[in-house]
Symmetry: C2
């Protein structure tokens, strides 16, 4: 990867002398920089392009080529790849469009490309991409027209246009990049490869990712988890809505993963997730230009009441931001530096006539207070406001300060300040998500569940039998065995067979057929509730036997209703087994509150996620044991982690009771993954 992104010699196949042609812009971009390596334009019909000697083919170049960029029509690309192989060139950027994104022919071409690349161990970026830029090595191997300022942000994008759009304002907005990488169709190299590189790149302090799909969820998750221990990873993921799932399919020929699972995976991995460009951009800007807050306590200082009030509202509406509380002593010290009329609450109102001198004196005092997390300095331009000086003072003071000081110049569009409080406060929320994630890494010591072999021989047999019988679903007694193995208390359901003893029937019972193929048993009359005594038992059994010939019939005690909870598992195509829990009964859909975990997961993580949930509050209100909920969820998590043959598992409902009565799984469905 080092040779790819920091090559000493670059060939451009399809170099052109025609202005505005991609093959020309590429050469210009490469050449215009202080790049010290060699550039070899390749074109059989030219001698000189942009002052550089042109070779007619790769074979003609007598120096070793670290990187080849291909900017030819799609149908020519594969033959150039052959040339690369012949000339032992391993690193290739394919700019050309006309692959999977453009229909069946393109898709075939891309499949062929992938095959050749794998066979020959080629590193290929693209096709259908913009190229890449390595600012600190002065390499602009892209056809982006604008100059790209150097800085701390490593940007990886699945959309080339997204890059050109953002680069347009980068310089104007004081945002600089270490690397910019346009992924294109990700035929060979994808975001994971470049993440690995940027993770260890000392010039990259923060990584921004624009993604439309993620194909290797688990690997991505692991890689991001590793990186976020040292640097922030910001992800703008397109495609959270149904409409977009369709659009993306036609757009890049790739299915987007289930968005809820993705979001949770991002969060668990410590990445910051964004749904819109503005927030993504502003947060990158703050990471690039400011210190990282050490805690979530904000101080607002303002020279105007109104905007201070608005900013206060916005911060109060953020769950993870708080206000710094000045001690009486601190207040006194700060007040001494300000006019009597100024108010040293939080927000600190330094009055409309505040000039840069007042900002300086005040900030000198405030930066002594080490426990502040962030200062937001609101500046509303008024008669005595010397804006330029104030911004300079703030910049100078932040350098000496243990925390970030972020200037917001209300309404103004200037390089080194923000325009409105909201954009900064949204970003601050994300900065604190990152800071809190890093803090929690040490607190929640993740003790992953052991990935043991398949649960037990008995269950293994059940799976095999079910597969043989092409059932796809467990019988209830098989599900029970799975529950038993993991210590999950489930409602017994004896089969009414030859061994069945009527003397043992419960006082009040439910009788039902146990056929995985019949989906709506209740509607089809396959479930009879409220059966009392041997007489009713017999007559109902007869009724069922008549209606459902040769079916298994089971009975269950009609137990006391508890608080209904759903716990389940689902195999995600991207992330493997995902654990789910939510409120059961009629509230399921109304609450729309479900919790997901990428497995493995331990109790501490489950507890953390449910801490502020409605689910937990229901348990408190109903005086139920919240810890037992956490335990049951963890048990089901274990089931998922150790049984990769499960396609879906659904415990619905599990009853939770007051006092010390054990939770009880009342119905269990287990689907088998036949793929």
């Amino acid at each position: 990867m080092e040779k790819m992104l920091n090559p000493r010699s670059i060939a451009v196949v399809g170099a052109s002398d025609k202005k505005n042609k991609i093959g020309n812009i590429l050469i210009k971009n490469l050449k215009n920089k202080k790049y010290t390596g060699s550039i070899f334009p390749i074109n059989p019909r030219h001698k000189i392009i942009e002052g550089l000697k042109v070779h007619s083919s790769l074979a003609e170049v007598d120096k070793k080529i670290d990187l080849t960029i291909i900017a030819l029509p799609a149908f020519l690309v594969l033959s150039i790849i052959d040339d690369c192989i012949a000339n032992k060139i391993k690193n290739i950027v394919i700019i050309s469009a006309g692959f999977a994104e453009s229909g069946a022919d393109g898709a075939r071409r891309e499949a062929e490309l992938k095959k050749v690349a794998e066979e020959n161990e080629l590193n290929i970026l693209g096709p259908n991409c913009l190229g890449f830029v390595n600012t600190h090595k002065n390499i602009n191997a892209s056809f982006a027209k604008k100059e790209i300022p150097a800085g701390n942000v490593g940007l990886i994008s699945q959309s080339g246009a997204f890059i050109t759009g953002l680069l347009d304002i980068a310089k104007e907005e004081d945002l600089g990049f270490s690397h910019v990488i346009s992924l294109g169709n990700k035929t060979v190299l994808d975001e994971i490869d470049f993440l690995k590189y940027l993770a260890d790149d000392p010039k990259t302090k923060v990584i921004g990712l624009y993604l439309e799909n993620i194909k290797k969820g688990r690997l991505f998750y692991n890689e991001v988890s590793r990186i976020t221990k040292k640097k922030p990873v910001l992800i703008l993921k397109a495609g959270s809505s149904q409409k977009v799932q369709e659009a993306i399919m036609s757009h890049t020929g790739a299915m987007a993963g289930e968005i809820d699972v993705l979001k949770k995976a991002f969060r668990e991995a410590g990445a910051l997730y964004f749904e819109n460009i503005a927030n993504f951009w502003q947060t990158l800007k703050i990471f690039n230009n400011h210190k990282l807050p050490q805690n979530n306590k904000v101080v607002i200082l303002t020279n105007a009441g109104g905007p201070g009030v608005i900013a206060t509202d916005l911060i109060e509406n953020k769950n993870n931001l708080d206000f710094y509380n000045f001690s009486a002593k601190e207040k006194e010290k700060v007040q001494k530096k300000l006019p009597v009329a100024a108010s040293v609450e939080n927000p600190i109102d330094i009055l409309g006539d505040a000039d840069s001198k007042r900002y300086e004196i005040l900030l000198d005092e405030l930066i002594k207070i080490k426990k502040i997390g962030t200062i937001l300095a609101l500046i509303t331009p008024q008669a005595q406001t010397d804006t330029t000086n104030i911004l300079q003072i703030i910049k100078k003071k932040e350098i000496k300060s243990p925390f970030p000081i972020i200037p917001i110049l209300i309404g103004a569009k200037v390089k080194n300040a923000f325009q409105f409080p909201r954009e900064v406060i949204d970003a601050l929320e994300q900065l604190n998500n990152f800071q809190q994630f890093q803090e929690n890494i040490s607190k929640i010591k993740k003790e992953p569940l052991k990935f043991s072999v398949l649960a037990s021989a008995k269950i293994k047999d059940f799976v095999n039998i079910a597969k043989e019988e092409k059932r796809g679903v467990f019988f209830y007694e098989e599900s029970l065995e799975l529950m038993r193995y993991y210590g999950i208390n489930a409602l017994k359901a004896p089969l009414i067979d030859a061994d069945f003893k009527i003397s043992k029937i419960p006082k009040k019972l439910v009788m039902k057929i146990d056929d995985p193929k019949i989906l709506h048993k209740m509607a089809q009359g396959g479930v009879i509730t409220g059966i009392k005594g041997p007489q009713e038992f017999k007559s109902n059994l007869q009724k069922l036997r008549k209606k459902f010939k040769n079916q298994k019939i089971i009975i269950q005690e009609q137990v006391e209703k508890g608080t209904e909870i759903i716990i389940g598992l689902k195999k995600d195509s991207n992330f493997g087994p995902v654990l789910m829990c939510g409120i059961g009964g009629i509230l399921t859909e109304i609450f729309d509150e479900k919790f997901l975990w990428i497995l493995p997961v331990n109790k501490a993580e489950i507890k953390k996620d449910l801490k502020k949930s409605k689910l937990k509050r229901i348990f408190e209100k109903e005086e139920l044991n919240f810890n037992s909920l956490v335990e049951e969820i963890e048990k089901v998590g274990k089931v998922g982690w150790q049984n990769n043959w499960i396609k879906e598992l659904d415990i619905n409902p599990m009853f939770f009771y007051k006092d010390s009565k054990k939770p009880l799984a009342v119905d269990i469905k287990v689907k088998i993954d036949n793929s």
Copy 2:
């Protein structure tokens, strides 16, 4: 008001020749404009200020003065007011600070000012304000330093700094104003007075309000309701959070109203409510610069997949925005105008090489489709993108189009386009709120409840007795009478007195003391549940009588539990009686879903507000009669509207049952307003 905001002669008391002094800026601002009226600087120590003749006092001016602006220290203001009265000047702007906002002395001064103004029928803007600007008459009667571009927006602000902040970018961002009014302390004139004026001002197409408090809620509500039938009213209200309630109190010496009631009042009145400056500003900009959409169907056109996808996500996440669905015929027509590779779905992807010509041809076709609500034109600058031309084309086409076409130039900060999709889509949501409100005005024909006299003589007596007894709260039997009068089915609770017949006790009952002064009856042992038969009845009665001597004791049948709903009333200091409804039982706090109505309210409005509520979904899931819920809520609304002596009324719970069983109010508390 016309003379105030469009005066033919203006005196400035406290005019100054010292640069940057407010008294100097005022004269310069007035003079620099093409203002055709007379300006009289008043100052006993000067002859000429900024080339104008100075008078030593108001009395010296020999022409009639329409407006006097006072810019003197606070302690001198009242004597100048006396001069104004002596010289028959009715319209006054007081710039000076040092009134209620600055402590006890200032508050006394303001009270005196208010008294004098009322006695002499003076129109006073301020004190503690920036002044006002009337761009179309070239009057800048403010000390805002910047030039204020003329346009369609009437801006009224309770914060002067908020105005200066926004004016700074107004020109740069293509936003113009008809009037800008800085309210200051609102001692005499307030937002309602200026709203009335701007409502009928033909130059004002949209009104923007920045408010920190609203004192006359009902009047405000009525005025805004009247205006929104013809123009949009945008309200940025500071102080939605607890923290801010405190800040505002110290800031302007005024209590903010209860925010939930305020928000509902805004919505009912058809105003658009904003919590942050950025959205407020961007929405004003769209109202000022674009057409109003006639429906909520959006078409996105984009020259880049990524940003198109992001915008699609954002629109899908808005409840009230939708995508326009092209008919097959429309699709075909549009496709003909585009390259084959372009995708005529919604978003329409017109490909990365789209130039202004392609935009023109496409837009010419699209503006024929009258049923489109809005076109968002996303432009991501790429190699072939001739941005300036494209923006011009869009502007030209919007003029001919029946709907707005809003350009978003990703990342770019230019005058006539937006930078990111989010800001536009947030604004679009609000535009559609306005459009839908206007549509609904005719649909929901509000038939206000009749405001009759106090319900009945009997209830009137109860109120008087309760007041005499200084109880403040109704006995249960009094509450029952109130319920009975409005046809609300409530659980009977016979008093155990001399007339009580033990033969009539229900099978299972609750016995409790009925003393409004004892708040936690249950905790104090004043409630006994589950009493069965005469034996238990007697022993428990004895127990209660012993513990609570001389207290009224009532019994209630222990009825079957239904779905619990809370319905209540509260007298808001600003808006009068407010009706409330929410989920009862343990879910009350967890759901955090309550509904408010400013009275009067009718069934259609209640239905509309509950249409997408969790409450309604619970009724559906539990197979309850939703209409009966609406009816009960309306009945309680009637109680509130016709009984202005009620401070609070709380029906908690009201049980709702399946089938045709009538809803039942199980506990009722009625508090009396003694003020």
